[in-house]
């Protein structure tokens, strides 16, 4: 009996991992938009905006939508609504954080810090 329920639990947990993101995501945002890259070489990173923030308990938009000046990040400056690429160009000049680098640092960096969330390439850039 115990064995059976454990099994069920495991199956549930695994399916949650696989289908969870899709089930909980808001319809308006499932991926980080990657059109700006022109010819992206990986599938767009999976990112169900609302579900992610709910799970990660992020309430303050500025945690991600930060601002900054002269290469210094400013966590107080809330920039939601401004496209990331406006500050982080696709091809970053020296001293600038390129768009890809900004995404990788922001996402993977936080996941590593919190010891939760996807970190390996294939966890976000899921092949169709």
């Amino acid at each position: 009996m115990l064995k059976k329920s454990l099994m069920l639990l495991a199956v549930a947990a695994v399916s949650l991992c696989f289908f969870g993101p899709a089930a909980f995501s808001q319809e308006d945002m499932k991926n980080v938009p990657n059109e700006v890259f022109g010819a992206p070489r990986r599938p767009a990173a999976v990112f169900p905006h609302d579900a992610h923030n709910e799970k990660a308990q992020i309430e303050d938009c500025a945690v991600c939508h930060h601002g900054g000046k002269d290469g210094k990040m400013d966590k107080e400056d809330m920039t939601a609504g401004t496209a990331c690429v406006e500050c982080h160009p696709v091809a970053g000049a020296p001293g600038q954080t390129s768009l890809m680098r900004a995404f990788h640092k922001q996402c993977v960096g936080c996941h590593l810090e919190r010891k939760a969330g996807p970190v390996a390439c294939g966890q976000c850039h899921v092949n169709k």
């Binding site: 993977v108 590593l112 010891k115 390439c121 294939g122």
Partner: protein, 219 residues
């Protein structure tokens, strides 16, 4: 698992690169010091011209008698080594990590090409394994260490390939891959893989001795 990945992608990577670079330099320096102390007469015959002449012939496929007489191995080993060196350096996934952690970025191989090259390395390893069991001469001289390094290379490329194709759990496979790659880097200065560091010098010496003293070809 995230923690293991974090460990592998962070501190262990630096450890591996450090051991590889410093270990290789140390081994080269120690070997040179030993050569100066113990092999003086031989060092005096070293010559740039003849060293390079010999190396040029031997890094050309079929450029020497040995290559010509072992054609299958020649083709496989050249493909193997070229891909083995180019893929880790110019693979996009690797450059992305450099970019993410160090802000270093440079042009990458197209994914398709890198993937083909990885498959080539895996097939080459299988060929080497087949040789080691089926060719009596190779079998006669094969020891544990030869298997270890061969399997290490094979595992690194297999896990890399699997994680690129997202077969199996991405996180597990990628972490495994990184650990294998690091083990391989660490192994270079201290195992048979050290032929990467010393090979050019052993060739250069024989090239110098043949060119300088014996006035004959060595290819």
């Amino acid at each position: 698992m995230n923690q293991l990945y974090d460990l592998a992608v962070g501190p262990l990577t630096w450890l591996a690169i450090g051991v590889f670079v410093i270990g290789s330099l140390y081994r080269l320096a120690a070997m040179y010091a030993m050569a100066k102390k113990k092999d003086g007469p031989y060092l005096t015959y070293m010559s740039w011209r003849f060293s390079l002449r010999s190396i040029m012939h031997w890094i050309t496929p079929f450029g020497s008698l040995g290559w010509k007489e072992n054609p299958a191995l020649t083709i496989v080993t050249f493909i193997f080594h070229i891909c083995l060196i180019l893929v880790p350096i110019f693979l996009m996934s690797h450059i992305v990590l450099w970019d993410q952690f160090k802000g270093i970025s440079y042009p990458a191989l197209p994914d398709g090409a890198a993937d083909l090259m990885s498959v080539a390395v895996i097939l080459a390893c299988l060929y080497f394994i087949w040789r080691r069991v089926s060719d009596p001469t190779v079998k006669f001289v094969t020891s544990c260490q030869d298997w270890t390094v061969l399997i290490l290379v094979l595992l690194t490329f297999c896990t890399g390939f699997l994680s690129y194709h997202q077969i199996g759990s991405s996180l597990v496979m990628t972490t495994l891959h990184i650990l294998c790659g690091e083990a391989m880097l660490i192994a270079i200065p201290f195992t048979r893989l050290s032929h990467m560091i010393f090979g050019l010098f052993t060739r250069a010496y024989i090239g110098s001795e043949f060119g300088n003293v014996r006035k004959a070809r060595d290819w």
